[in-house]
Amino acid sequence: MVMLAIMSLVILFMVFTMLYPIGVTFMNSLKTVVEVNSFPPKFLPQGLEWQNFEEGWHYMDIPMFMKNTLIIFGGNVLVTVFVLGLAAFTLSKLNLPHRKLIYFFFLMTLFIPPSTYIVPNFVNLKDLGLLNSFWAFWLPAGASAFNMLLLKSFFDDINDEIFEASRIDGASNWYGFTRIALPLSIPIIATLSIFIFSAAWNDWFWPSLVMHGDPKYPLATAIYKKVIQATGLKQNIKFAILAMVSLPPIVVFLVFQKFILRGLHLGGVKG
């Protein structure tokens, strides 16, 4: 009983520490400059300064940066589904000679930690003339051994018989992939989309190297360059912008949380 009480306290503490900083972001975004800089800080604002949001909205072109993030995300999903999906389908469902060997060729790249080749990767993109282009994100999205592994293990669980039957009826392999395998793999595509979205949504450093300026920066990079590194920006406006960019993913997560948490589970072990 004592143990259970302690555990409940621990959990309550966790819920509090999770929610408090998020609450702080929203509360601070509604304060005046004087309030947000006063010591000791108060959690609740005295009045509701909604015009902070208006000022933040005019400070930077949030819709444009968000559009760039979504362009990167959309292209990455398409490449993942069609390039990696096709390869995973082939390795899983078509009886190719040497497919184990080919699979190993793809999988071996998992052994190589990404930050060991971050520098040559950048120089390589430059040599290919892909800097400052969305292709610098879309094409490398098709070189993810981890996502291929997830897709292949999903295809492995689909019964072979459907594909054999369709082949006997004269369907091509392409038909098998687009009309049978893809519709069946909506759950894994949804899971991958969550991973790809959170990567595109969070990644600020790599785009800041690859993209050369405002019109191409995704939201995270723009926030880092214009809000986090800014010195002249007022604290309350800063928090208003941070609140604005946090709100959409929080709402999406809360609405679809059952679906998303199940999807994450499907993805298995992923740090």
Binding site: T90, P120, G271
Partner: protein
Amino acid sequence: MDQTAAANVQPATSAKRRRFAPYRKNWSGYLFLVPAAALFVLFLWVPIIKGVVYSFYDIDFVNGNTYVGFDNYKTVFNDSEVGVSVKNTLYYMALCLLIGFWVPILFAIAISEIRRFQGIFRVAAYLPNVIPVVVLYGLWRWIYDPVGPINAFLGKLGADQILFMTDTRWSMVSLVIMETWQQFGSGMLIYLAAVLSIPKDWYEAAEIDGAGIWARVRHITLPSIKGLIVLMLIMQLIATSQGYQSQLAMLDGGPLNATLTYGLKIVKYAFTRLDYGVASAMGVLMFLVLGGLAVVQFRMQNRGGN
């Protein structure tokens, strides 16, 4: 004459045809692999090989590259900051183990034992993962501020102020606490799934035998998820050994290089000094160390999966 020649040729081509038959029959299958193979070569294998090559060159985008032998490696070993960065990286890895590693395990077990409101706890724990990390950088700078809420609380308790960001003893610890807060939710979900998949009757049997929570956790829960714990440990070591983003974003390696990790040092060589050769050499050295760890992880994961 013609007929015999044709007859002689026939068996040879049919043998050849038979040998290549599986490939010809599967031509579309091989075609399906081409896009992925091309992208893997272009964006993984080429950079990886280039990295090794570049480590022996002085990279100059304007005047072209020149071969310099082991000079880049000499530069790495003669740079005293590299030694500092290795020490900082090991310190960072150790802190992540001490402060961060056990947190998701603890909460996963606590949530599974309480058995109620699991949905709410799960959502609360995962919430920080949803917020963009750049937002967290801004938020935590304010929380850690000398006049921020934590120092206000400490002041109320009559304790001394802590300079979380600028005190060299605290800066790395502060970053690890922030990262633990942000990331433990996803680890917790993985542990929770494993804990919930332990057969219920084991617990019931233990309860009948009069085992308390502590005994159950020690003798049933922990042994059941031992494999997962080891796997997560290796994954965390691999991830933290490469860490540099929060160090870069929050403190740029400071104060006094206290948060300069090896990964950050690579980034600084490449993108502030524009010395891509030395940066590549550091990458190769890192690969030699981490490659071994990655192989161990893969073997474990395969054993766990099957």
